[in-house]
């Protein structure tokens, strides 16, 4: 094939269609549930029905007697398997609180895995699981993280850690403050809830002594490393494979008990073992997130400057500490100041275990919570100082002149240094676009006519591009087809398309000729996957650097063959030609690749093949920024909130594919609306989860989800990446609860009314009746 047949597509900044879509719209996707192996077994987990209790006995005999059941395991059957370790390596201070794949001595939440049934088919496995008899002596459950901590296994208390960050002299600042404003606010327990439940298949290939796991997502290389550590196997003998993944949102793809169990079972039972989670299990077994209570004070100067911020928070971690360790506490305390200067700051996080489902990261972890809390406080400051909420924010925003702005705060091992950005400038643009002043007049008139309608704003800065490093490999074959191998992951965000566009830019080829590999631990040594809005920033930059190296090699080889110098050449549509004479002598990338095969006499001293591998190391994360504005109406009869208008402003630095970025913002907002108004895992006093179906855990449908107006700017490319890319994955959700809460306050005319999410009709009716409305 001499040239690409279609017009070359896919430059940076083009909203091209996604490479991912054709199999997904034709039913040809390969999700983990779609994968089967001959002779496979099916696993079903027997879970605790008690929130807290001592395991006295587990009787598996009736289950074992069911025809088709091959084995039933309790923790004694796998007493050599250690608890699930932390993703970023062992941490002796937290080791005690880790979860074993099957509960040992105690159960610590409803849903805690106690036994595993392996059978010939999934229906039999589920039948037999019903016959496993758990004798559990109930213990008093701890439901609230702000109650007094309890004993933990006689060795510690349920306050597993205190995470503290800050700078400056809090006591002096507050002693000298013109005014001190305090709020006490809560973020409910909710989580990502991808449409595909989790699943995993373990398979042991005895011929090669290789353990394989299918159904990996998000961080396959990290999970391989943890599995190797736990099972004492070499990295070369453990391969994880990511197929299609039905949504990630931070919760999918961490290493869970069930993932370890299918691997251990595959090794010991000698047959492939498949586990597919059902939705009821998912809602009590996959990571929950978000639940925090903050008691936060602002020391305010006479002009509205917040000169000090003092926060104490209780983080409800649930039954165990899973793979993330204390990362959510770190991100909450590290990002709470947001886009504001706050010259003195302290946040103390009580990181506490309770008897609920373990918690970890969900899209925008730490920032979603801290943004809601901080923006509630900023509204309270405005009210206390009788200032306009916008004016208070302006007074405190970090200015462009102060950028890059460093703070003595840590976010995931990175000392925070804000990328240059004009926070106030983007605010001006956003307010102008939405017509803020006219909107205020219009809403005031409508309120005067008896409507409960109001607007609110929430400002934020995001973090993206978590380092430290990433690598990519590119190989061009003799037909000119290109393979890009990455350690990234695709969880639905359009990773393949973004990587192909980035590679296509430097390789001068159509993005549709590029195959992008991700999530395959046997194809590349290193990978950090897709989380923390890092994939396009880190992996994308590694792909770009690699593509540049391959381009240079192609031009160097072509220059010799065309008897010219490399500087005079360029690549268009996969063809190398003279910049000045596009119709002149030319070579396809495939022809150049052929000239570089090991046996080629044309190759000279060059390394064989048209290929390359480059690394990218980042010194700080990138820090994009933006704001949300919501306009809502409240129905005083039902307590229902309707979002009438929504606006998101965001500076992305540099767009790879604006259509996909907007998709991230709109989709993130839908989840933000869920967290702000509907989604909540509630528990009874006995610790029974009360939201284990979609009839109880209410996610927004089309009717409840606004179609936001978006202002996507590229005014401040990141100084941390050569392409200026900043992340896009989380900004749609970060500001949502703050803006919606502010708008509700405004609509009902009760400043500071909303102190807790979700603002359900029940909560809002209670607020209204307490204020005689």
């Amino acid at each position: 094939m001499a040239t690409a047949t279609n017009r070359m597509l896919g430059h940076l900044g083009d909203s091209v269609d996604r490479l991912e879509d054709p199999p997904l719209v034709t039913g040809k996707g390969r999700f983990v549930g779609d994968i089967n192996f001959p002779d496979q077994l099916h696993m079903r987990i027997v879970r605790s029905a008690y929130a807290h209790g001592k395991i006295k006995s587990v009787d598996t005999s009736a289950a074992e007697a069911v025809p088709g059941v091959v084995a039933v395991w309790t923790t004694t059957d796998i007493d050599d398997v250690p608890p699930i370790d932390f993703r970023e390596g062992s941490d002796p201070t937290l080791a005690l609180f880790r979860q074993y794949p099957l509960a040992r001595e105690l159960v610590r939440y409803v849903g805690d895995p106690v036994a595993a049934v392996f059978a010939e088919d999934p229906y039999t496995a589920e039948d037999a699981a019903e016959l496993v008899v758990l004798d559990i002596e109930p213990l008093p459950p701890l439901i609230n993280a702000d109650d007094t901590p309890q004993d933990f296994k006689g060795k510690a208390t349920t306050e597993a850690a205190i995470v503290e960050q800050g700078y400056g002299d809090i006591d002096e600042t507050f002693a000298n403050a013109y005014k001190v404003v305090e709020v006490d606010v809560k973020v409910s327990r909710h989580t990502g809830v991808p449409m595909e439940c989790r699943g995993a298949i373990g398979r042991y290939d005895e011929a090669r002594d290789v353990l394989e796991m299918y159904g990996a997502a998000k961080v396959p290389h990290r999970n391989r490393d943890t599995l190797c550590r736990m099972l004492n196997r070499p990295a070369s003998g453990v391969h994880l494979f990511e197929g299609h993944t039905g949504g990630g949102f931070g919760i999918r793809g961490e290493l869970y008990p069930e993932d370890v169990l299918v691997c251990v079972a595959a090794l010991r039972l000698g047959r492939p073992v498949k586990w597919i989670e059902d939705r009821q299990e998912h809602l009590m077994a996959a990571n929950h997130s978000r639940q925090q209570r903050h008691i936060i004070r602002a020391a305010v100067a006479e002009d509205g400057e917040v000169v000090g911020l003092d926060d104490e928070l209780y983080l409800d971690q649930g039954g165990y500490i899973r793979t993330h360790g204390t990362r959510v506490a770190n991100m909450t305390t590290g990002t709470l100041p947001g886009p504001y200067r706050f010259p003195v700051y302290r946040s103390i996080c009580h990181f506490r275990l309770t008897n609920k489902t373990p918690a970890a990261t969900y899209r925008s972890p730490g920032r979603c919570e801290s943004t809601f809390v901080r923006e509630r406080l900023m509204d309270a400051v405005a009210e206390a100082m009788k200032m306009d909420p916008i004016a208070v924010r302006r007074r405190n925003l970090i200015s462009l002149e102060e950028m890059p702005y460093g703070r003595a705060l840590d976010v995931l091992g990175d000392s925070v240094e804000h990328d240059p950005g004009d926070y106030a400038g983007l605010l001006d643009q956003g307010l102008a676009q939405i017509g803020w002043d006219d909107l205020q007049k219009e809403l005031a008139e409508r309120r005067a006519n008896g409507e409960m309608v109001g607007a609110g704003i929430s400002m934020f800065f995001e973090k993206s591009g978590l380092g430290p490093s990433d690598a990519a490999k590119i190989f061009v074959d003799n037909e000119g087809f290109i393979e890009v191998v990455t350690g990234g992951a695709s969880i639905g965000q359009g990773f393949e398309t973004a990587m192909a566009q980035i590679a296509a830019e430097d390789l001068g080829t159509d993005y549709r000729r590029i195959r992008v590999v991700h999530g395959q631990t046997n194809r590349i040594d290193y990978g950090v996957g897709a989380h923390a809005s890092r994939a396009t920033v880190l992996t994308g930059t590694a792909v770009s650097l690699t593509a540049q190296a391959v381009r240079a090699k192609a031009l160097d080889m072509a220059a010799e063959l065309l008897q010219t110098n490399a500087d005079s050449l360029t690549i268009t549509d996969g063809v190398v030609h003279s910049k000045d004479n596009p119709g002149g002598p030319s070579l396809t990338l495939g022809e150049i690749a052929e000239a570089l095969i090991p046996t080629s006499k044309l190759r000279g001293d060059r390394e064989p093949y048209l290929k390359g591998e480059k690394w990218f190391h980042i010194d700080h994360q990138t820090y994009p920024y933006g704001h949300h504005i919501a306009v809502v109406t409240v129905d005083p009869d039902t307590g229902g909130v309707e979002i009438e208008k929504y606006f998101i402003a965001y500076d992305i630095g540099r767009s790879i594919n604006p259509k996909m970025i907007e998709g991230q913002l709109v989709g993130g907002l839908a989840q933000g609306v869920g967290g702000a108004l509907f989604e909540e895992f509630t528990y009874s006093e006995a610790g029974d989860p009360q939201a284990v179906t979609f009839a109880d855990y209410l996610m927004p449908t089309l009717q409840e989800t606004p179609d936001p107006e978006i202002l996507l700017t590229e005014d401040f490319p990141s100084i941390r990446t050569p392409l200026g890319i900043k992340g896009a994955g989380e900004a749609g959700i970060t500001g949502a609860a703050g803006a919606i809460a502010s708008a509700i306050d405004n609509a009902i005319g009760i400043p500071g009314a909303v102190t807790e999410t979700p603002v359900t009709p029940q909560r809002l009716k209670k607020i209204l009746s307490e204020h005689g409305k």
Partner: protein
């Protein structure tokens, strides 16, 4: 567990003769015994709609129907939407409007929309919103799904 029953499911025009347990759901029979894994399970209690297929041209949640109930019935799944290499207008519109991200809920939305657009080619935007609110998507925020289905409606109407 129980005696199997021999049934015939006609899926996308092809007969599948399968021997099923009466308690197997239609979704499980389609996926595990007829090899058509394009139909996805999202909740298995009839709320999310990811498993929507057409049974005798009407949208049905295949997690709430038993396989035996579909004996001799005409079933259409996402695998049957395209005509050879030619995409169905809805498939095309979903790709052009970025109406999918992870793609897990997509087959359910496509079959729901196919059923409703065939039954009501002139359906209004408001009625369409009501219908599309019966399925859940966790990635897209729905706006692009609405755009895609409206675009396909208009194209299918123009072509008819």
């Amino acid at each position: 567990m129980s005696d199997k029953k021999d049934i015939t499911l006609t899926i996308n025009g092809r007969d599948h003769n399968v021997s099923v347990d009466p308690r197997w759901t239609l979704a499980d029979v389609i996926r595990d015994h007829c090899g058509q894994t394009g139909t996805h399970l999202g909740c298995e209690h009839g709320i999310c709609g990811a498993c929507t297929v057409l049974v005798d041209d009407a949208p049905v949640r295949s997690c709430l129907m038993f396989g035996v109930q579909a004996d001799s019935k005409k079933i259409r799944t996402v695998e049957g939407l395209a005509k050879g290499e030619e995409y169905h207008p809805l498939q095309k519109a979903f790709m052009e409007n970025h109406a999918l991200q992870c793609g897990y809920c997509t087959p359910g939305f496509l079959m729901l929309a196919t059923g409703i657009l065939e039954a009501q080619p002139d359906i209004s935007d408001d009625e369409l919103n009501d219908v599309l609110s019966s399925n859940l998507c966790r990635c897209t925020g729905y706006a692009n799904i609405v755009k895609a289905v409206r675009a396909a409606r208009d194209e299918m109407k123009a072509a008819s």
